[in-house]
């Protein structure tokens, strides 16, 4: 049979039409779609047994309770612990991406000596040599931990000194230390009993203190209410996230917080709105009005509003003696709902801001913010988990990253209650790392290890028989049968909480109105986030939405 052109066309058309009514093209399309989504270069999650461990976040000194979802030994997700007595189930946004930090491209994986690759043995030899030649200054950014104790002991044994870099929240408590002699490490804010909180720029709803603590208070007692039980008055130059959610926003010129505190104090004294006596601010009301941009009547009204609902407390962003003096005048120091002394025993720290002239070497712990530069010409040994770029350190030493080391978690800087928790190392280090305590132990084998110190601290808590241990349930320490049982609970993520403070044990009496403090810009994250890098998911949030602006000086 002869096949004509017409036959060919008819056959082709029939085949095309027939093919369409079979499932073949659709199946091929579907399969192609599936195949093309499973190319070998598409990353696949690690498979393995999944378990959830409870611990505390160690990224900043606030120690929020944290659930760590682990798969095949690696952390794959983080969430808050609702039974945690202070953080109450919340984490800061950065905390939710912290499990990815250890693989950040800026992770410091090798020892560097003046930007050139080096080794741990060379670094150890250089540090041992420096120790033998002169005093060593050790700088810590997170004092109170077991490893801090190791650093301090080593510095004392070698005739050096131990200094600390404190966060802005702790520095804000410094005036009370000056006036009362009680160290800042023993002070906190009794926010739970306050009815009025005047925030001078402090980002109370945006990362201040333990994020969940005030946020939960605000939700329970203020959110969505026109006449809230808790009045939040936000004094700030910009309409910040906290200002947007405050009961009253008081817009003042940037840096005029001290002037406003002075103006309010003058009104309180002149109109006899407070029973306490205190030094009269040198600033007149007209001068305060001129500096703040508010009218004199507005300052008068603000003063009356502040005292209308006690107990109350004013919160500064940083060391601001004028705001501290206002608190004294308001009767907010050593009283319920104000600044309280949470601990009888506390250590006084020497700030690292002072010049260190005679040191042979300076060792900087990984907890010190990256942008801190030691004011010294000595040889600098800088521990860090992430490389933030230019630094004045002679030696850059890779430190353990997130969840890669055992540490304990002492009381958060702003807490009114003493707390203690243990954060075990949950993951194996992804690089050859050491922490400062390990380096010191390799030079001085007589040093007590952090693990031994944690054990001793647990034993102290057990012997003290006071306070409670919070896990899924609350257990008084006095009911624990042995220190091992108590320690076991803490290693599993439980938190010890001390007794409520006795407010009357703190007295402040400034003799004269303090001079104005330098303006401190309101900051949300960079003050409590020592790492120079951000979790990649945080970078995503900053890059792919306009919700927030990325903190300055942090690497994406």
């Amino acid at each position: 049979m002869k096949v004509t052109r017409r036959d060919l066309l008819v056959w082709s058309a029939g085949a095309a039409a027939g093919l369409l009514v079979t499932p073949v093209p659709w199946k091929l399309l579907d399969d192609t779609s599936i195949w093309s989504q499973n190319w070998p270069w598409i990353p696949q999650p690690t498979r393995g047994p999944v378990e959830v461990k409870q611990s505390s976040c160690t990224l900043c000194p606030n120690g929020c309770g944290m659930k760590v979802k682990m798969a095949a030994g690696w952390p794959v997700g983080l969430a808050g612990v609702s039974s945690h007595p202070i953080s109450r189930g919340a984490l800061c946004p950065l905390g939710f991406g912290a499990h990815q930090l250890n693989w950040h491209p800026q992770r410091l994986r090798t020892v560097r000596h003046r930007a050139a690759p080096s080794t741990w043995s060379e670094a150890r030899a250089a540090f041992a040599k420096a120790c033998s030649e002169g005093p060593v200054v050790i700088i810590d950014g997170y004092p109170g931990r077991a490893s801090s104790s190791v650093l301090e002991t080593f510095a004392q044994k070698r005739g050096g000194s131990y200094r600390v870099v404190l966060g802005s929240e702790t520095r804000a408590l410094a005036p009370y230390e000056t006036w009362s002699g009680v160290p800042t490490s023993a002070l906190g804010y009794d926010l739970e009993n306050a009815q009025t909180i005047v925030s001078f720029g402090a980002p109370l709803l945006d990362g201040w203190g333990t994020p969940g603590r005030f946020t939960r208070l605000w939700v329970e007692r203020a959110a969505g209410s026109a006449s809230p039980q808790l009045r939040l008055i936000q004094v700030e130059a910009t309409f910040s996230r906290t200002a947007a959610r405050s009961w009253q926003w008081v817009p003042v010129r940037s840096g005029a917080e001290s002037a406003l505190a002075g103006g309010v104090a003058r009104v309180l004294l002149e109109e006899h709105l407070v029973s306490a006596r205190g030094p009269m601010p040198p600033l007149t009301l007209a001068e305060a009005a001129n500096q703040t941009g508010l009218s004199a009547d507005a300052i008068r009204e603000l003063a009356r509003t502040i005292v209308a609902r006690p107990p109350l407390v004013a919160i500064a962003t940083d060391n601001n003696p004028a705001i501290a003096a206002l608190n004294v005048l308001l009767g907010a120091v050593g009283t319920r709902g104000g600044i309280v002394r949470r601990s009888k025993h506390a250590e006084k720290y020497v700030s690292a801001d002072a010049v260190i002239p005679s040191a042979r070497a300076v060792l900087i712990d990984a907890s010190v913010p990256w942008d801190f530069v030691a004011p010294t010409d000595a040889e600098v040994f800088r521990f860090a988990a992430w490389d933030g770029g230019s630094s004045k350190a002679d030696w850059l030493l890779p430190a353990p990253g997130f969840l890669e080391e055992l540490t304990d978690v002492p009381t958060a800087p702003t807490s009114a209650l003493e707390t203690y928790a243990v954060a075990p190392g949950l993951v194996k280090p992804s690089a050859e790392v050491q922490n400062a305590a390990q380096l010191l132990a390799s030079i001085d084998s007589t040093l007590t290890t952090p693990e031994e110190i944690i054990h001793a601290r647990c034993a102290d808590l057990f012997r003290g028989r006071s306070g409670t241990v919070h896990s899924q349930e609350v257990t008084p320490v006095a009911t624990f049968a042995s220190v091992q049982k108590l320690e076991e609970q803490l290693w599993k993520g439980a938190v010890w909480v001390g007794e409520a403070p006795h407010p009357a044990s703190l007295r402040c009496e400034p003799q004269e109105w303090p001079a104005s403090a330098a303006a401190v810009p309101s900051d949300t994250w960079s003050t409590t986030w020592p790492a120079p890098v951000l979790p990649s998911l945080a970078t995503k949030l900053y890059r792919e939405s306009s919700l927030r602006e990325a903190p300055e000086k942090r690497l994406a």
Partner: protein
């Protein structure tokens, strides 16, 4: 029993911290790509800032988390998908996106009145080693497909497995909590079964403060919002075409 999972988001409680966005991206293995921007990025949960448009002490701001609204009726994305890659799950009411079927035509993105769908412009990638931190319960999606919130379906699977392990057919709702709900530090986002009249979330959804975005379209979204602020409620109305009611309202897009 047929469930209708949904949410009530109390906007008076939202501080715009972004925890829900971070937790969502972490749970669902959404990559952070340097080439992405606010226009091309992928944010299944996106918090937008809105204001009443006034300045000074009269200014008010609020934050509105936007995700897939899981429309119950005439679901726009389902209607336009040529691949049957989107469907409303009859058992849960969840609008499911099946990336394996998706051809990336983006009709659904155009049809979605909430702009809650995102296109995967690039292959997902993470810095070396970071793939170890990916959630094993959620498969990574390739470029060329559309993504959106699926109410953390992996968590629903886990809850089902847990129920099945003890011989139950129904899940305990306490075992199924989406990541954004779990992460919200103020408890502003609440999740529940809207079909259960005794469910607190279902009751909240029927309260006088509750409203839905673009309710006039009749798609019956299963995400409700709440606010006592009249200007916030009016803003939702303005998005449904009644802009004259809130002349000052402005929306800052993510």
């Amino acid at each position: 029993m047929t469930a209708r999972y949904g949410m009530v988001i109390d906007l008076d409680r939202c501080t715009g911290c972004g925890s829900c966005m971070m937790a969502c991206a972490s749970e669902n293995n959404v990559p952070s790509l340097p080439q992405a921007s606010a226009r091309t990025g992928l944010m299944p949960m996106l918090v937008r800032k809105v204001s009443n448009g006034l300045e000074g002490t009269a200014r008010r701001e609020a934050f509105i988390p936007i995700m897939c609204m899981h429309c119950e009726h005439d679901t726009p994305c389902v209607k336009v998908c040529p691949q049957q890659a989107v469907e409303v799950d009859k058992a849960t009411g969840i609008v499911m996106q099946m990336p394996q079927r998706c051809l990336g035509c983006r009709y659904c993105m155009t049809a979605c009145p909430y702009h809650a769908r995102y296109f995967n412009w690039w292959d997902p990638s993470w810095p070396a080693g970071m793939e170890k931190s990916l959630n094993p319960g959620v498969a990574v999606r390739m470029r060329g497909v559309v993504e959106k919130c699926n109410l953390c379906h992996a968590r629903l699977h886990s809850a089902k497995e847990k129920a099945a392990a003890v011989g139950k057919r129904e899940i305990d709702l306490a075992d199924y909590v989406p990541a954004c709900v779990e992460a919200c530090p103020t408890g502003a986002i609440r999740f529940g079964n809207l079909a259960d009249k005794n469910d607190p979330v279902s009751q909240e959804a029927r309260s006088s403060d509750a409203f839905r975005l673009l309710a006039r379209l009749g798609t019956e979204p299963k995400v409700y919002y709440k606010s006592k602020e009249a200007w916030v409620r009016a803003l939702a109305e303005s998005q449904s075409g009644k802009a004259s009611e809130v002349q000052h309202a402005e929306v800052q897009h993510g």
